[in-house]
Assembly symmetry: C2
Homo-oligomer: 330 residues x 2
């Protein structure tokens, strides 16, 4: 028995110990409470009913692309093409740039005919401008953009192959429609296709642009386009044309190389004859090609030089569609 020794310190220690343990317990409870408050709430993870998240949503931003399609006065073609393009492999999302000012989008119809393989976003525009499609849309989640005109149908095979080519040349415009510019002795440039005399670099022809109306390119170029001089927008708005030529100037300047890589399409179709709208596309205007030559020269002024470079590389898919398409009679 340690009456004196034990009792007095014991009592003192007892009280102190009691206080100490109480404090510890209270602190632990507060900490635990704080931790539980920080846990994520489970109800936020529930999928909303209105937009079904298909497995394409989880596709890596590197392995999929976003289709951007601007449309004016050809909704029948648009809907036909949407049914085709919605099922392309590696497609992440479709952005429709709605240039039909004041007119309702077909979103209701689209939703009523769901479900769809990928989400479609209708971006209603306030002014009917050619360069509306070159905005840096916040809806873009992928690195790659596929831009298509609203009257152009390219087969899924061609698109799958061209996307794989873009992944190997991500700083280029990889597409199906090559064009070129020609220098003349006067110093004035002209714009054209293969019927225009070749630039004179050895055998064969050359191209210096790949049109963005049927092409893959990096979304970073849309960001860059927002920083172009006002004069570039003025040229595009004045002609309602040449946004694609401007993009090729931008890319060529940025890379110091030919802006585009041409992939020869197996199956590419222009559906403009199929429209009921009677509207047949800008390139039928009498002044269309002259405008494009005009744009080339204006852009050379703005850029203080000609950044476009020539290429003669034509890419096709090995062994497709003919498994022996590379055979030679050695």
């Amino acid at each position: 028995r340690c009456f004196h020794f034990c009792k007095l310190p014991g009592r003192v220690m007892g009280i102190r110990l009691l206080r100490f343990t109480s404090v510890v317990i209270i602190v632990l409870l507060l900490v635990a409470g704080a931790l539980t408050a920080l846990l994520p709430t489970i109800k936020d993870d529930k999928l909303p009913n209105s937009r079904r998240e298909s497995k394409t949503q989880s596709q890596s931003a590197l392995d999929s692309f976003t289709l951007i399609m601007q449309t004016f006065n050809r909704t029948d073609l648009l809907l036909k093409l949407l049914n085709h393009y919605q099922a392309i492999p590696h497609l992440h999302k479709i952005i429709v740039v709605w240039n039909n000012i004041g007119e309702k989008t077909p979103e209701e119809m689209w939703n009523s005919l769901g479900p769809h393989p990928v989400p479609v976003v209708f971006k209603v525009q306030t002014v009917n401008r050619m360069r509306n499609r070159l905005q840096n849309f916040p809806d873009l989640e992928t690195k790659a953009v596929l831009m298509m005109d609203d009257d152009t149908l390219v087969s899924a095979h061609d698109l799958a192959f061209a996307f794989s080519v873009w992944q190997q040349f991500p700083e280029h415009i990889v597409g199906f429609v090559p064009r070129k510019h020609i220098s003349t002795p006067s110093g004035v440039y002209s714009y054209g296709s293969f019927e225009l005399q070749n630039p004179g670099f050895g055998n064969g022809d050359q191209y210096s642009m790949v049109l963005i109306g049927a092409a893959f390119f990096h979304r970073g170029y849309l960001e860059d386009f927002q920083r172009q001089p006002e004069a570039v927008y003025a040229v595009i708005d004045e002609t309602q044309n040449c946004d694609d030529i401007a993009m090729n100037f931008l890319v060529a300047k940025h890379t110091g190389k030919p802006s585009g890589v041409f992939v020869k399409p197996v199956d590419i179709r222009n559906l403009e004859k199929d429209t009921n709208s009677g509207y047949s596309g800008m390139w039928h205007r009498a002044e269309h090609l002259l405008q494009r030559s005009y744009c080339v020269n204006k852009l050379v002024n703005i850029y203080d030089g000609m950044p476009l470079k020539y290429s003669n590389i034509m890419i096709s898919q090995f062994g497709f569609p003919n498994y022996a398409n590379h055979k030679n009679k050695m």
Copy 2:
């Protein structure tokens, strides 16, 4: 008159002036003599008669290539091909790897039929080995090597285009003959061409090698080849085959990408039927293809893995030979 003043300093100055000017003159003469001794002698600039330096010698090492052609028992074909290849644009020099052991080279005849557009060097070998052509020849002055079999004729147009493609893909084997390997469920690999089932990556076919018997590649790979494990040389020497498969393994391992870029030839010909020697080339041996499958598996063991990668990129020349060969029926 300044008789006293003038005469004394004058005389002193006169003598001093005289001495001074004499010294200056002598020094100047000595300097002049030294300078003339340093002038280059004109006679060293005279072109030697025996080897006329054509303007191709001054071609930049980046803008030209060296042809390496190994030859065995087909000197008639060799000479026919030399007449063709000596005139290819951007050719810097030809190196003939002479595998006809103990036999005189045709150097005398070559010289007697000069002048020639480029120099040819005959490298006499001591042993008839397939891998003789993969030495790091000190005669090489260009970055690019064009390696051709001694029975293969490729048109100048094809070579000029493929060289320009190599300049855009300098770390790859850029050539005209694609081949592939196939994985099988047993884990054993097989070697073949397009008649072999495709590797199963979507549409069409794939290739994983470009044969070096008709291809451009960087001379650095010859340097790298000297540092291969002995086991690699053993496989090549044992089969007298597969040096090209070994090079594809080397390049694929080095780049982590497909080793080759296939350029579809317009005009490639095998001349082996044209030889008077009766010798028809290694690939006619019964065991040739089986050997190559064997080599693939041996190399996988040596490399402890399969470094070859598949590609389905097929490159053609835009607008050549048909200026509208990229036209589509849009």
